[in-house]
Symmetry: C2
Subunit: 307 residues, 2 copies
Amino acid sequence: MFLGCNSFMVKVVIAGSCGLDDIESKAGKVENVLGGSAIYASLSASHFCKPGLISAYGDDFSSKYLEMLKTKGIDLTGFQEVDGPTFHWKGSYVDDINDAKTLQTDLNSLLKFKPVVPEEYKDAKFVLFGNTDPEQQLEMLKQFDSPEFVVADTMNFWIDTKKEKVLELIEKTDLVLMNNFEASLVYGTHNLLEAADKLLENKKFALIKKGEHGALLFSKNSTFSAPGYPVRTVKDPTGAGDTFAGAFLGYLSNQSEINESNLRKAIIYGSAAASLNVEDFSVNTLFNSSIEKIESRVNEFRKLVEF
Amino acid sequence: MFLGCNSFMVKVVIAGSCGLDDIESKAGKVENVLGGSAIYASLSASHFCKPGLISAYGDDFSSKYLEMLKTKGIDLTGFQEVDGPTFHWKGSYVDDINDAKTLQTDLNSLLKFKPVVPEEYKDAKFVLFGNTDPEQQLEMLKQFDSPEFVVADTMNFWIDTKKEKVLELIEKTDLVLMNNFEASLVYGTHNLLEAADKLLENKKFALIKKGEHGALLFSKNSTFSAPGYPVRTVKDPTGAGDTFAGAFLGYLSNQSEINESNLRKAIIYGSAAASLNVEDFSVNTLFNSSIEKIESRVNEFRKLVEF
């Protein structure tokens, strides 16, 4: 079900990492499972449209994973095969389910990834850059013709080491995904309203995520508070932010207009997908999910805030 | 305007501290201003009903403060004058607006306070115990005939030092006000849903506050997420929790039934009053506020979560 999305063109493009993860939490342990920002985001967006994937995988990447992505209707024109092994991340949530402890990182295929936008993707209207070096994100952005809505993820590491580039990214995209700590770091204030004011200086909308506490969307005249969904058992929070971003942009790509009302709904769809995803390891939930399951979770969000 | 509350009887009783505070924040500095848990809560509740106050003040307590409390319709039968100075607290929010640094505490009148419930208050239907020693809260609770709904505030200090008594308080009252850290401390889990399950073992409802991130209300079959209101300039957060509790109980005391729908609204009324209160020092906003101002803030809460 593509909700009116024309499946013959790639209207939504998602660029970022693809990896094989070893993950452990109190709920168990998995090895060499599908991961990476672009993978989570594409699988999440695939419930709403046919996303085009820009990423790279190594020669150890299982063909079963390629089939999984195709089954979900993801266009793989921009999914590059490179020599050597796939990016590998090993992390643990045993001590704290909200804070990944990185046990090992082998960049592998990430180092060989060419940030090249395929011809077929250049007229995409919706673009998502998963968290990576802001210079690479800006380099890819230049290659698109005239996207309507561009979202980029970032993190404290880039804000600490390449703040100027993050600020350029904020200026040149429609939305940079930051949480409250990252927004504080960029603008030097713990007051989220002050950070939002700065973001709104040359933007219509500013989004600040608050982890388990939800997210805030600011515009010049109003504020939206999206709740965090109380998940009973978080098995694996890996990729929650990417899952949010994928469904957020996927939902938006089906709307006739980017306005506050649709952005509010997009945040709830993103949060719904993310809340489902953390209930199982890796991309299991996303792969087995459906738009109906996401809609059902969206309805639970409605009941959650009703008074 | 008492919203149907019969002003000839004391249906709501609020017990707790009364103090004179010195407070400084980046917004300024005030000295010897009215404070204390029962004062904030009573002034907040006074927008909804005529609360009876059980507290104590010293011989340095200004008669102008007594007049202020009377003007707001607060019954002072249980407000004891004791020898010596009033409880005095000096705190600073200059370093962190969300975390009070205590500079000085003089217990004074608090030590002379007799936890005695006046005859006129014994048939009260709604009772709020501000944060204090749980043994004192339990001692006062015994003196009421058959209250319909009893709320008690507590804090990490009592959970650390008198956990058994806090557990008894949880068992014997309808709602103990705790934030996420305090609930974790009581039940030894960071998972709020697990803490809520424990609270719901012998209760219909469990409330867990999350500071600036709002609050969660749990019942057997549903969860309510109340947003935090993004206050532009917090001048003085002192008494925010007491203000919440006062308006929460005041609102409930006017409803025909204690059910989930009314509890959800009571949480929003409490949050609205608290969000107004932090916009100025001491009880200034509460004293100058009106039910209309609170209703108007409640409407802003509605817009905040609409999608």
